[in-house]
């Protein structure tokens, strides 16, 4: 089954063609990096306008670059749950129009389910059940995956997402946007133990996360040093900050995996591209005899191939959406 996926939940306009939820024929992603750098982050109103400009081009490119025509498309999958409302509705409006015009089934999906499938696209051998950590600029979520499309939410962030903390600290340190790659790069030259930043909720009996206190601590440390005319080793601050986030993410995910007795962990979302996060997960999982899987880099950030793959799985189960599909900006991940 040839599924056209559409994803516009935040700042990437993306369309993809995927065969049988496995073979990616095209995965076109138009980023808004020019706007993000100008505004220092995602501005919902600006992002939504850009989606409206780009959506037609991106869909056409996904079809043309795969050497297909619209009449080859057998179903439409679209992110309709969780994201910025003005952004989501551009993708859903396009998806409904195509479903109506081509008379093919439509399925609306949760953005996080897409990220879960990004990893299954890259690593179809991931065993079920397993524990999945989704970490991005908008989400930090620990999910127990019983089987395809069967989820149990184990924990989530109570304030900032991990990627959001990266972005905000990078913005504070004037490292540019997105902050993750900038801090990742700077950290390679820094001392991870130079600063003792807090590890929020690390020892608490919960799988929820919190990163806003860590962020404040980094900012206060910086300001104190400026006030005291002390040296400002940006590399060390970045490396120590990154280490705190990585330690919390890995420790909680391992705790969840051991409690559930699973043999594998999957890590998805934009922050899963972080080199230190991958390194610590790999070392820790090797020691514990647990498999760890990451999506290929092109599938870490928001993309439509993961939505097409998730859509295929749901359609195979006999599910579909009707043409009154609407957006749900704050929907929980269905269990």
């Amino acid at each position: 089954m040839l599924v056209l996926g559409i994803e516009t939940s935040c700042d990437e306009t993306s369309a993809a063609l995927v065969v049988d939820g496995r073979e990616v024929l095209s995965n076109i992603i138009a980023t808004q990096l020019d706007l993000l750098n100008k505004f220092g982050g995602v501005v919902p109103e600006v992002a939504a306008r850009r989606h409206t400009e780009l959506i037609g081009y991106v869909i056409k490119e996904a079809i043309d670059s795969a050497g297909k025509t619209l009449s080859d498309v057998e179903a439409i999958a679209v992110t309709s749950k969780t994201g910025l409302i003005g952004c989501l509705l551009v993708g859903v409006a396009a998806a409904k129009s195509l479903s109506y015009s081509l008379q093919v089934p439509l399925i609306g999906l949760h953005h996080i389910e897409g990220h879960i499938f990004a990893n299954l696209l890259s690593n179809p051998q991931i065993p079920m059940p397993h524990v999945c950590l989704t970490v991005s600029g908008g989400h930090t979520m620990l999910v127990y995956i019983r089987d395809y499309c069967q989820y149990e939410l184990l924990g989530r962030t109570l304030d900032d997402a991990a990627g959001e903390a990266f972005d905000k600290i990078a913005k504070f340190l004037e490292l540019g946007f997105p902050g993750g790659p900038a801090i990742d790069k700077l950290s390679t030259r820094g001392n991870r133990k130079a600063f003792k930043f807090p590890r929020p909720l690390l020892r608490a009996d919960t799988l929820d996360f919190s990163f806003s206190g860590l962020k404040t601590s980094v900012i206060n440390t910086f300001k104190d040093r400026v006030a005291g005319n002390e040296a400002l080793p940006l590399e060390d601050i970045a490396a120590s900050f990154q280490e705190a986030i990585v330690e919390v993410l890995v420790t909680k995910t391992m705790r969840a995996a051991l409690a559930r007795g699973v043999s594998a962990i999957s890590v998805t979302g934009g922050v899963s591209a972080n080199r230190r996060l991958r390194e610590v997960f790999q070392d820790t999982c090797r020691r514990e005899g647990i498999g760890v899987f990451f999506p290929e880099l092109s599938l870490c950030t928001d993309n439509a191939a993961m939505i097409a793959a998730a859509g295929y799985a749901r359609l195979r189960k006999g599910e579909k959406s009707d043409l009154n599909l609407d957006v749900l900006p704050n929907a929980p991940l269905e269990v």
Partner: protein, 235 residues
């Protein structure tokens, strides 16, 4: 030429079908927080009412706004993706012109007004009708009613969803018995979009299907903020 017209820029949303100069079906439905949910089923309803299916549609017309910043994206996206999918042309029409066209049988100057969503701010323009064709005679206006009233120097028909109250306020601001301000209650209608688009499409005029975007008369709040801070040298 059979044309489907869509306008989701306002607080009522509309779809309609016309064949050349003849209206075949027209539907206005209330918009909730956005106009996304029912847009396709309402398109399907007007086509069925006109005994047509989507393949019979030879061109698409869409109101480009100005208006509600979320709603407008739905109509423009639906129109361009339907046109792309069907391989048919699309024609965007400014929503103020759609309103003016709905009141084209009135003599003299026509002033459509759309509430801009923030306190006291409206979008407006001035049109004249000649041989059934409405033409805009001045630049688009974005601002308060006081400013708009200063531009009204002759008897004028005000077309708006709340035309009566606009009419009264403009009349008070002008304070002259020589200038007659009439109210015509109206919302942008899909059939009017279809008629305007059909006329242009029949003349061979159309917009680029992929690059079509809404008519924004106000820059986004973020851009406006960035512009102000840059002007002050803060960014």
């Amino acid at each position: 030429m059979i044309v489907l017209g869509i306008d989701t820029s306002g607080y009522a949303n509309a779809v309609g079908v016309a064949d050349g100069e003849r209206i075949l079906a027209d539907l206005v439905f209330p918009a909730r927080t956005d106009s996304l949910e029912k847009i396709i089923s309402n398109i399907d309803s007007v086509l069925k009412e006109a005994n047509l299916c989507l393949e019979d549609v030879q061109g698409f017309g869409v109101g480009l706004g100005p208006g509600s910043w979320t709603g407008i994206k739905v109509g423009v996206t639906v129109a361009k993706i339907l046109a792309y999918s069907a391989g048919k042309p699309v024609c965007g029409v400014p929503t103020l012109e759609v309103l003016a066209y709905g009141a084209r049988k009135n003599r003299g100057q026509i002033c459509p007004i759309i509430y801009a969503g923030t306190k006291d701010t409206v979008y407006a323009a001035f049109y004249r009708t000649e041989n059934g064709v409405v033409s805009r005679v001045a630049d688009y206006y974005v601002g308060d009613l006081q400013g708009l009233s200063k531009m009204v120097r002759e008897s004028t028909v005000v077309v708006a969803a709340e035309a009566q109250s606009y009419c009264r306020l403009i009349g008070q601001a002008i304070g002259s018995a020589d200038i007659d301000i009439q109210a015509v209650e109206g919302v942008p209608r899909g059939a009017m979009v279809a008629l305007l688009a059909a006329a242009r499409l029949e003349r061979g005029e159309s917009d680029d299907v992929l690059s079509l975007e809404p008519l924004y008369l106000k820059e986004s709040t973020a851009r406006a903020f960035l512009g102000r801070t840059q002007a002050k040298g803060r960014v």
